[in-house]
């Protein structure tokens, strides 16, 4: 089961590559839907038999010992669920668009899915690292091959920046291996063999830098806005929807439990950076006139809050971060899809030259509205639960930080609602006159997203139930110094 979940996207990537340019998007959709169906089936198994049903172990390299150690616990399952839920939508969002060499394009997306699932499943440090790096390659080629005018320097910066972080993490992993008396990368060994707290401080930075760049936490965010706006829409969705969750997931999975003393030492700095990032990114977002960049900076603010919740080191913060990872993944894909629809039809990303789309595209208006209110965290949407828990978690950690972290909700409302007002409301101008309402595939994608937003907002319990056992273990380890 585990292997099937992992390898189906890889098979799909090959199938898409062989299917030819015309059929590529349909074959990709077929496979991603099948993978999602498989995930639903896996969920029923998980409910009955728990994580034990998903353990897969095979020796790979004997010295230094690296094994193919895969597993799915609640936390992994939620992330895999997010990935497999978003992929069909991302593929579907590419329907009715023209891509040169479409088969490679969709094949790279599926390869990306394979790598992401691998990251969430890997229970062996080096295997995890290999998947982590592997995820970088498809997205780089997607952005390089199908990106905007300025893609070459932007993607180069993205690649080198994230690789720099990753290589430091590799160094950190090798050091962990040598500090580990069992000499392995196995996650349970790493959890159970505390490292001398004298070494945890600098090891913390080896890992934290890698994750902070990926998430991104200010001041390591400079690659992000440009890459988001230069990458093709599907690339941006993959990046913002799933890939940056790799960073926050890894904070919970690898950093907190393995280096508790390091987290205790440097956590306050990390949480402060995160909160500074929230305020800073929100302010920049308010100044933005470019639609995609605005969403990019709003994304920095949101994930900053997620990171702050994680470093608050309490249950509310962790729960909130997981729920918000899912919610933000869904919402940001919706946002970027809306941006893509607008840019594709009006040929401009400049907010001030838009307006009045509501008058000509009512269906689009309704669905876009739902996505926007979810990302400003209105109650009964999925954004609310996560942000509420996160702010509460940070509040338990430190009141003043919580005050600033709470600003994200207010500032978020400012820039999102103003953006909505300027693009959708008001009078129709010559740019937006010809705006056609959504076609079937666009309606389907946004409809599913809007539906999920409401369902998650009203009934988030299954997610809490899934992740609770894993979070208990992780928080225990993280607080044991």
């Amino acid at each position: 089961m585990t292997l099937l979940l992992l390898l189906l996207p890889l098979v799909a990537a090959l199938a898409v590559l062989l299917s030819g340019n015309k059929m590529a998007s349909r074959v990709a959709l077929l496979f991603t839907v099948a993978e999602f169906g498989l995930t639903v089936y896996a969920y029923t198994i998980f409910k009955q038999q728990g994580p034990e049903a998903f353990v897969f172990f095979h020796d790979w390299i004997s010295s230094p010992k690296i094994s193919i150690n895969l597993g799915v616990d609640g936390l992994s399952f939620v992330m895999i669920g997010l990935t497999n839920f978003l992929l069909p939508l991302i593929v579907l969002s590419g329907f009715n668009r023209e891509y040169s060499n479409a088969k490679t394009y969709f094949s790279l997306m599926l390869l990306m899915q394979f790598a992401l699932i691998g990251v969430f499943m890997a229970y062996d440090g080096l295997l995890y690292y290999i998947f982590w790096e592997l995820a970088l390659l498809p997205i780089y080629f997607i952005a390089l091959g199908w990106g905007g005018k300025n893609r070459v320097p932007v993607t180069l910066k993205f690649f080198i920046y994230t690789l720099a972080g990753s290589l430091l993490m590799l160094f950190g992993f090798i050091m962990l291996y040598y500090y580990n008396p069992n000499a392995s990368f196995n996650i349970t060994d790493l959890y159970n063999n505390p490292i001398c707290s004298c070494n945890q401080g600098w090891l913390f930075w080896m890992f934290f830098l890698a994750f902070a760049i990926k998430i991104p936490i200010v001041p390591f965010h400079t690659w992000q806005a440009d890459t988001y706006s230069e990458a093709p829409t599907q690339g941006t969705m993959l990046l913002s929807g799933i890939m940056l969750k790799m960073g926050t997931y890894s904070l919970i999975r690898w950093l907190l439990p393995i280096l508790p003393a390091g987290v205790a030492e440097w956590g306050p700095l990390a949480i402060t950076l995160s909160v500074i990032g929230i305020v800073y990114a929100s302010i920049i977002a308010i100044m933005q006139s470019d639609l995609k960049k605005l969403f990019a900076y709003s994304s920095v603010a949101h994930v900053g809050l997620i990171a702050a919740g994680i470093f608050a080191l309490n249950m509310e913060g962790l729960q909130g971060s997981v729920v918000q990872m899912i919610a933000h993944g869904v919402n940001v894909v919706g946002l970027f899809f809306c941006a893509d629809i607008i840019i594709n039809r009006t040929k401009t990303a400049n907010i001030s030259s838009l307006g009045g789309i509501r008058n000509v595209a009512p269906r689009f208006n309704t669905l876009f509205m739902i996505v926007v209110i979810a990302s400003v965290a209105l109650p009964l949407t999925n954004g609310f639960i996560g942000e509420f828990l996160l702010v509460y978690g940070v509040f338990k950690y430190n009141t003043w930080l919580a005050v600033f972290a709470g600003l994200t909700i207010i500032l978020g409302a400012v820039y999102m609602l103003r953006m909505f007002q300027n693009t959708m409301l008001g009078n129709t101008n010559e740019q937006t006159q010809q705006f056609a309402d959504l076609n079937w595939s666009e309606t389907l994608v946004l409809g599913i997203i809007a539906f999920t937003i409401v369902v998650m907002g009203v009934y988030p319990k299954p997610i809490f139930e899934l992740v609770q056992p894993s979070l208990d273990i992780i928080l225990n380890k993280a607080l044991a110094k």
Binding site: S62, E133, F141, L163, F171
Partner: protein
């Protein structure tokens, strides 16, 4: 010993092929011959009978231990790949093909001696057989001034290094009274080492560092690589570099291990400088051969990390790294030679828009570039990982961190080619890739991925 003998015979056969008018059959015969030699080589595995020619024992000269056999096997495979390429590469120079090929076989002979030497004299002979053949090959484009320059430069610098080598060996002999590796090792272990011996070791080390193109003895390599015919550049940057490394490694693992504490500071500085200078200088290059020359210097630095770790049996790590590096480089050259030819240019812009002209070739080149940059899931990553992890085990933590940071820099120039292929508009010059080149490239790509999937097969060889 049999490996060396048969290979020498094969070289002689190549020369005779000219006389017997067998030029058409030459390349297939070479491939078959080398395959046979590969099998014979591998059959000696684990057998410890001393080397001999008939009744005469030569074990004090040559010792075919597992280290030598493993590296010989790798060298034979590399040569086979190069010879597959040579059939088409020299198709317009049928008059000289047997000369060229026989000289290249003699390069391999020299390399085989360098893998298995058990005596300082044999080390010198091996290096000279290899180098003199290469001087000829580097200058083999007689009417091309750059090729002439390349051959001449290589010869002058090489001769200088040979002088160092001989002087070093002589001083070591003067101090220890023997040429044999075991004898010298015993002399070092006995503890009464004279300054003359240290001077000898230093000179010997300088000569070897020259051969592996370590900083500050690296200036020859970009010029020589650039001027030499591309196929010979491929040969030099793979087989020759590996031979020099294996010889250096063998020197420390079999003989001079006891002097490690003395050369260690020097080696650390040279390693750091080699990695850094190679990577940083490569950044500003636009000629692909020069980029690969500087990247080769940087890779030499990483392999020097392996030499530093030679006291804890890092041989399999070095072997793996060398194999990953060589395979990626040959595959890259196979496709690059064709690109150079069709564009009449050896610069990065020759690769512009390759992804549109030939997507398979572009994908393969990306695989090789990413492997050289050390990005998973390709073999270059595991190679780096093994080397780094050996170095950390030996306590070179800061140096390893330095190497890690440098491999970030390296990504920039490897990506330069990928960017040219995928994001620049194509020119109108058609790209025709000869099937044999494509075959070599596909074999290399398969090996690059295969080495990651099952590295244990390889890594257990020298445990």
């Amino acid at each position: 010993m049999t490996t060396l003998l048969y290979t020498t015979c094969l070289g002689l056969f190549c020369m005779l092929a000219e006389v017997l008018n067998l030029r058409k059959l030459l390349v297939p015969a070479l491939i078959i011959g080398l395959s046979a030699i590969f099998v014979v080589n591998m059959q000696q595995w684990g057998i410890t009978t001393p080397a001999s020619i008939g009744p005469v024992s030569v074990s004090h000269m040559i010792k075919m231990d597992n280290f030598a056999i493993a590296f010989s096997g790798l060298a034979i495979i590399i040569s086979m790949l190069i010879f597959v390429l040579s059939a088409n590469y020299y198709k317009d120079e049928q008059n000289h093909i047997s000369d060229y090929l026989s000289i290249m076989v003699f390069v391999l002979c020299g390399a085989l001696v360098m893998f298995s030497y058990n005596n300082m004299a044999m080390l010198f002979l091996g290096i000279e057989i290899l180098s003199i053949s290469l001087y000829i090959m580097a200058g083999s484009r007689r009417f091309d001034t750059r090729s002439n320059e390349s051959g001449m430069k290589y010869f002058l610098m090489g001769a200088f290094a040979s002088g160092f080598l001989l002087f070093g060996i002589a001083l070591i002999y003067g101090a220890s009274g023997t040429f044999e590796l075991e004898g010298i090792a015993k002399y070092v272990a006995a503890g009464s080492v004279t300054p003359m011996f240290y001077l000898g070791v230093t000179l010997l080390l300088f000569a070897m560092l020259f051969k592996v193109s370590a900083v500050p003895f690296h200036f020859w390599s970009p010029d020589v690589y650039e001027g030499a015919p591309a196929l010979i550049t491929a040969f030099m940057s793979t087989l020759v570099k590996i031979a020099a490394f294996a010889a250096l490694y063998r020197l420390f693992s079999h003989c001079l291990g006891g002097t490690m504490y003395y050369v260690e500071p020097l080696l650390i500085i040279v390693t750091g400088a080699t990695i850094m200078v190679g990577n940083v200088t490569a950044l500003s290059q636009i000629n692909v051969k020069r980029i690969l020359a500087y990247s080769g210097i940087a890779h030499a630095g990483y392999m020097l990390l392996g030499v530093l770790s030679s006291q804890t049996n890092a041989a399999s790590s070095v072997l793996f790294y060398a194999a990953a590096y060589a395979i990626a480089t040959i595959g890259l050259f196979a496709l690059a030679i064709m690109t150079f030819k069709s564009n009449f240019s050896e610069n990065v812009d020759a690769f512009n828009g390759l992804a549109k002209k030939n997507p398979v070739a572009a994908a393969l080149i990306s695989v090789f570039m990413l492997s050289l940059a050390g990005i998973p899931p390709f073999a270059g990553f595991l190679g780096k990982y093994y080397i780094f992890s050996e170095a950390i085990r030996n306590g070179y933590v800061t140096l390893t961190l330095f190497a890690v940071i440098n491999s970030i820099i390296a990504v920039y120039y490897y990506l330069k080619v990928i960017i040219a292929m995928y994001s620049q508009p194509a020119n109108d010059k058609p790209l025709i890739i000869h099937p044999s080149y494509m075959v070599v490239a596909i074999i290399c790509a398969a090996a690059t991925i295969g080495l990651t999937v099952a590295p244990d097969m390889f890594m257990q060889i020298l445990k």
